[in-house]
Symmetry: C2
Subunit: 225 residues, 2 copies
Amino acid sequence: MARSIETSQLTVARAAAALFLQRGLAATSGADIAEAAGISERTVWRYFHNKESCVAPLFAKSWKYYAEELRRWPHFQSIEAHLAECFDLAKQPPEWIADGLLIVRLIATLPDEPDLRPVWLASYHRGEDELAAIIGDRLGRSHGDFDVRLCAAAVLAAIRVIDETISIAAIRYAQEFTTAEVVAQTAKSIRAVSHLPFCDPVEPRPFGGSGPMLSPDAERAGRTE
Amino acid sequence: MARSIETSQLTVARAAAALFLQRGLAATSGADIAEAAGISERTVWRYFHNKESCVAPLFAKSWKYYAEELRRWPHFQSIEAHLAECFDLAKQPPEWIADGLLIVRLIATLPDEPDLRPVWLASYHRGEDELAAIIGDRLGRSHGDFDVRLCAAAVLAAIRVIDETISIAAIRYAQEFTTAEVVAQTAKSIRAVSHLPFCDPVEPRPFGGSGPMLSPDAERAGRTE
DNA sequence: ATATAGTTTGACAGTAACTGCCAAAAATAC
DNA sequence: GTATTTTTGGCAGTTACTGTCAAACTATAT
């Protein structure tokens, strides 16, 4: 049974992250990463088109964690209730802990490794469509609706800021957070930037959607894929 | 009298943008950019540490335009009033028109040039501190305050989404917008994602700031510089 | 105008990042 | 098992990018 390609890429990402953290991005070569990951350099460049994006799968994992939980979010539940339920660290697979630490440490080094930040931002950005779909679904609106996309972008930015704030506080200032604190802060921040009422329980409704804010053309245009 | 270095970099950016738009990022070499910009390749690499970021000055200009106007924003004025005043296209220097078109066209190609998107995102990201300062100033709060930073990130995301939506609508769907439409939509979107009341007139107040949401350490930690 | 100091640039050589190509290996289907 | 497709490694070649140094340019002083 073969490992999926995502798993292989994640292996490379972990190796790359460890090296970047240890000796810095500039001092790490493609050959180093390949060796640490136990594959040929050729395959590294097949997986990623540049050195920095080798860690992208880890960053993506940070968001995918949220995405998966949000997709399961029942319509009748508030965001606070749902997050409290699924953010139980004890429920996470053990490998998550190690990856989580790697991610947090990477985020904390962003100020020192400016070339890593675009990768971080782009990883999060890829979640916008997905989040728009989730929000749209909850509100019975299209994911192409301008307001829905606006909301998704703002919420994703909020989650990103929280990730950054907490990671830096944890690594650089050795601060510790309880799960409850993180959940409360996350929910509060998401609510703060949301102008659509998707955080509260909604009754399931047939797909409908309200009028677009920009013209329909502009709406279609807004989708990135 | 020497041209400032920013001007030189902008020249390179314009040349690079034209080439990227014409034949694509992959088909454009560093030597091509250098030649088109009328400087040596060595200088191109001194200005930018990779090919993609050659267009960053143009992207940055897109945000700086907002930033400058917002810094001038008088405390007693609402955001609608202020934006309406300064978004008068006739008031812009003529070179702005050409650059603006270049920027809009670049944004419209982002779906086809995925390697340009990180540059776009990072350019906007660099405005977060600046915007936090503006918002903080209006509210008499510190720019390090978590809520202020959260608000800045959300507002910047909103402006970015508007830029993307309008650019794609204009280029791919040949839609046209009046200044008034753009201003109204921008102000409305900024308000939508803002949970702090900086959009309305505020009375000038001595620097004070309310209590932090996270602990002071976490607040300091959040700043990226 | 000339000297001096500081900054920016180009030339060129070298290294590291990255691609194309093809054959070996591995997975999958039958 | 064989046939087919997908994934991988090896290696050669190209392009992106850096280090170094001398020439050119700017600025300020006199």
